[in-house]
């Protein structure tokens, strides 16, 4: 449970940062939201295994 909160949170932060960055350029809403969703998905995929195993290790499992 704890791991899922961490990787989801971090992925949301990555997507938010992406959204924030798009504000400095001329992008359509679809590009902004679509890009943020893609960044969120990839971040989740990258972080899920890493965070899950790190949390498991820390908790002695």
């Amino acid at each position: 449970m704890k791991a899922s909160v961490i990787y989801t949170g971090l992925s949301l932060i990555a997507a938010a940062l992406f959204l924030l960055a798009t504000l400095f350029g001329e992008y359509t809403a679809v590009e902004r939201i679509g890009g943020a969703v893609w960044v969120f998905m990839l971040s989740m995929i990258i972080l899920m295994p890493a965070v899950t195993s790190a949390v498991k290790k820390r908790s002695g499992g």
């Binding site: 791991a3 992406f18 960055a21 350029g25 992008y27 359509t28 679809v30 590009e31 679509g34 890009g35 893609w38 960044v39 998905m41 990839l42 971040s43 995929i45 990258i46 899920m48 295994p49 890493a50 965070v51 899950t52 195993s53």
Partner: protein
């Protein structure tokens, strides 16, 4: 004091694994089961070795963990033949008894066929216990040969996988072809042949959707199952690639104004062909992967099905599995021998090539050992069965090779680790690539004439999101490290099987790799380089005929039990037949023999015997000294007080010993000989064999420390010995090579077992090891090389210069090609013949 937890281990057969990430996937799944302490999964053999605490986890838990990930899991399955059943109640009885035994997962009894199929963990409950339990309730049960069952199971699973992928390929391929025709309808000359309505995006949507959610469904389901447990694998790469291409196409079809490129950027063919190519890759891989284990399959096929047994004077044909130890088995010319045994009557020549690698048929007479699986050539004979079922030489060899194929070479562990980390790495690269092209690349380099390589597409209408997403998806597809996962296990399977063909059995992949990396080989002298029994080497006469001297010596020694005397009698018998009997005979311990023959008083022995009987040996003293300097034992022969000549006896080199040493030296290895003999004899034998580095006067217990000394000099050392008194040295060496184990291979010490007693096989072992390691390195090179080259291209490194992008479907084709190239490279091992054996065959 806490009670220590009792651990048990078992092997699970995993179905549906395709790459190294699947290995990590399954390993990860099993490790999440409470009580599991160790998991090793082998992709090539589709086996998972699991060590767990049965008080915390059950068989069902382990199977469920694997099945939840989208793979199938099964335990060992054995077929038993059951006798004595008469009705359905018998079936229920047997099933009830067996099903409640620990370690038994399922049991299905077939009354009509008289069989029981048991799925069970042999390490928890061995098969004999199940047989005994059935026997205890009044039925007869016998085991089916395990290797054959394993072969059937493996073949069945592979056939199922091939069938599944073939079906998917036909569906996806047919629909994909129509989608491609429809997409490219406006281009080239297709407009003349393909109707325009086929380019309708809604029509293409209806064709692509069944591909993505039919044959492509497996990628989404498997990756979701993995993600639920925090595991990623190749399926995820495929799913994100196919999903993204499909989603863009659907959005551009139904909502063309949302900024994804509109109707010009509906990549239905990308989603369709991506699926087709991935499934094509899996199909070809399943087909070719099965061929790498051809050698072991060939060995298994040697196991005969029937045997003609004589019980109570009646000859009857029964299944080979039903032959019992002690049974008398009749064999006719041209028949395959069912089990191991000893010939009791008859005479024949038997072709043992399939088991021992010997190219010439071996003559068999009463008292000789024969092997199951070998071919009777000429005569008819009978033999008494000594080993049956899995205990036969062939059964042991198959088991050994199977076990070797389930182990991992050290080099593979590295590849597995890299492949496992690769997935996350690829997604990270895909993220970086997306962000780069979104914020920087698109504005800096995008031009409206952008094309996809090898397609007529011009991506004029593609927006920044569509372009960045396309590049990101291409990276995901092109980077798939499938080839990396296959590189090592496929080569190990092919190499260990090839070794078995030549009578070289590696006990594990680590032994193969260690053999390939050897710097030095230490040969034990007696029985390894030499024949291990003395034979006559020289007969020197003063005036008499040499044959006459040998004849008198043989008559004198005829009843001697001394090994030197036996050698003289054997030498005479080989040339002239049985020697006459001496009229009188007296053995003088430590001196020799005194005998009388044809009124002659014969002396045969050493200097002391001659001196005590007043025989002058001065004339041949220098010859005797020369022979002794060559490591031979010189025996003087005299008649009626007059010196006749010398008979020299020595433990001679095997015919191939010198060549084996020369070959090893040619291959850059240092060669040593180790022996308990005195320095002079050892040096003489070493000279004949071509070995300069001789370690003489070494007691058996000190051989291991001599090997250790060489290792301390940084030499990766192999010890070649007979595996009995050399056991400590074999264990100390980096590679212990047990030579001439003959048929009882399972009992041998050592990492490599040579079935025959031929030093050249030690050379063959190194050659097979080196070839296998070479294959592994080539495979890894191709796999890594592909990814190293393909990823930057997929990232769009060349785009600013060419304005062309790799399409996702081309990426999929490249990825499938890399896996196939690795598998095909491994298949080259099928035609490999170790150089020493190649020359022998040619000769």
């Amino acid at each position: 004091m806490p009670t220590p937890r009792k651990k048990t281990s078992l092997a699970l057969f995993i179905g549906g694994m395709t790459c190294a990430a699947c290995v990590r996937h399954v390993e990860g799944a099993l490790q999440t089961v409470p009580g599991v302490s160790m998991v090793t999964v082998n992709l090539a053999t589709s086996r998972a070795a699991v060590e767990y605490d049965p008080s915390q986890a059950t068989l069902a838990d382990l199977k469920k963990a694997v099945e939840d990930m989208g793979y199938s899991a099964s335990l060992d399955v054995d077929e038993l033949s059951i006798t004595g059943m008469s009705c359905a109640a018998c079936v229920k009885n047997i099933e009830r008894v067996v099903a409640t035994m620990p370690g038994v997962s399922s049991v299905v009894v077939n009354l009509a066929a008289g069989t029981a199929r048991v799925e069970y963990a042999p390490t928890v409950t061995p098969l004999p216990d199940i047989i005994t339990a059935i026997g205890d309730i009044g039925y007869g049960a016998a085991e089916k040969i395990e290797g054959q069952a394993a072969l059937d199971r493996e073949q069945g699973a592979r056939a199922e996988e091939i069938k599944k992928q073939k079906r998917s390929l036909i569906i996806a391929g047919t629909l994909g072809l129509i989608v491609m025709l429809g997409m490219f309808q406006p281009y080239w000359i297709l407009a003349d042949f393909v109707p325009a309505w086929m380019n309708n995006k809604v029509f293409l949507f209806f064709l692509t959707t069944p591909i993505v959610f039919g044959p492509g469904r497996q990628f989404f389901v498997n990756s979701w199952n993995g993600l639920k447990r925090g595991l990623t694998d190749m399926n995820l790469l495929y799913a994100t690639g196919i999903g993204a291409a499909y989603l863009i196409a659907v959005i551009n079809t139904f909502f063309p104004d949302t900024g994804f490129g509109g109707h010009d950027a509906t990549f239905y063919e990308a989603a369709a062909l991506l699926t087709v190519f991935i499934i094509l890759g899996r199909y070809l891989e399943a087909v070719t992967r099965g061929r790498t284990s051809e050698s072991i399959r060939h060995l298994m096929k040697l196991q005969p099905k029937l045997a003609r047994v004589i019980r109570e004077g009646i000859e009857s044909e029964i299944t080979a599995e039903a032959v019992l130890v002690g049974d008398i088995v009749a064999v006719r010319p041209g028949e395959v021998i069912a089990v191991d045994g000893v010939v009791t009557e008859g005479y024949s020549a038997v072709d043992q090539a399939m088991v021992t690698g010997e190219s010439i048929p071996v003559e068999k007479k009463s008292g000789d050992e024969i092997l199951g699986g070998t071919l009777n050539k000429t005569g008819a004979f009978r033999f008494r069965a000594t080993r049956v079922g899995r205990e036969t030489a062939l059964g042991q060899i198959i088991r050994l090779v199977e076990e070797a194929q389930t182990t991992k070479a050290p080099i593979q562990k590295l590849a597995d680790r890299v492949a496992g980390q690769f997935i996350a790495g690829v997604h990270a690269i895909a993220l970086i690539v997306f962000v780069f092209w979104f914020f920087i690349g698109f504005e800096a380099w995008f031009t409206p004439d952008t094309r996809l390589i090898l397609t007529p597409y011009v991506l004029t209408g593609l927006g920044v999101f569509g372009f960045a997403l396309l590049t990101s998806v291409t990276v995901l597809i092109i980077s798939c490290p499938c080839a990396l996962g296959l590189a090592t296990p496929s080569a190990v399977m092919a190499g260990s099987g090839k070794g078995a063909e030549y009578g070289v059995l590696f006990k594990g992949a680590d032994a193969m790799e260690a053999t390939a990396r050897l710097d030095a080989v230490v040969f034990d002298k007696t029985g390894t380089l030499t024949k291990g029994e003395p034979s006559v080497t020289d007969v020197i006469g003063l005036e008499n005929e040499r044959n006459d001297i040998l004849r008198l010596a043989a008559i004198a020694e005829k009843h001697s039990e001394h090994p030197l005397g036996e050698a003289i009698v054997r030498a005479y018998r080989e040339k002239f037949g049985e020697p006459d009997d001496a009229e009188s005979f007296e053995a003088v311990p430590g001196h020799g023999i005194i005998a009388s023959i044809e009124d002659k008083f014969i002396l045969l022995g050493n200097r002391r015997l001659m001196a005590t009987n007043g025989v002058n040996i001065e004339a041949l003293e220098s010859e005797a000294a020369r022979l002794e300097s060559e490591g031979k034992t010189a025996m003087f022969a005299a008649a009626d007080g007059k010196l006749l000549g010398i008979v020299a006896v020595a433990d001679t080199l095997k015919a191939t010993a010198a060549r084996a040493v020369a070959e090893l030296k040619k291959m850059g290895l240092k060669v040593f000989m180790i022996t308990g003999d005195n320095t002079r004899t050892a040096a003489a034998v070493g000279r004949q064999a071509g070995i300069e580095d001789v370690l003489a006067e070494v007691l058996p217990q000190d051989k291991a420390s001599e090997v250790k000394k060489l290792q301390s000099q940084g030499l990766k050392t192999a010890m070649v010995g007979d595996g009995i008194n050399d056991a400590p040295a074999l264990a100390q060496a980096d590679v212990g090579i047990a030579i001439g184990s003959g048929t009882d291979v399972a009992k041998e010490t050592g990492n490599v077992i040579l079935v025959r007693n031929d030093p050249l096989d030690a050379v063959a072992a190194v050659q097979v090891g080196r070839k296998t390691l070479g294959l592994i390195k080539q495979n890894l090179f191709w796999a890594f090389g592909y990814n190293t080259l393909a990823i930057p291209i997929g990232m769009g490194v060349l785009y600013p210069f060419t304005h062309q992008m790799v399409s996702p479907e081309l990426a999929a084709l490249l990825m499938a090609t890399s896996s196939l190239s690795v598998t095909l490279n491994t298949l080259r091992m099928r035609s490999f013949v170790p150089a020493v054996r190649r020359e022998k065959a040619a000769a």
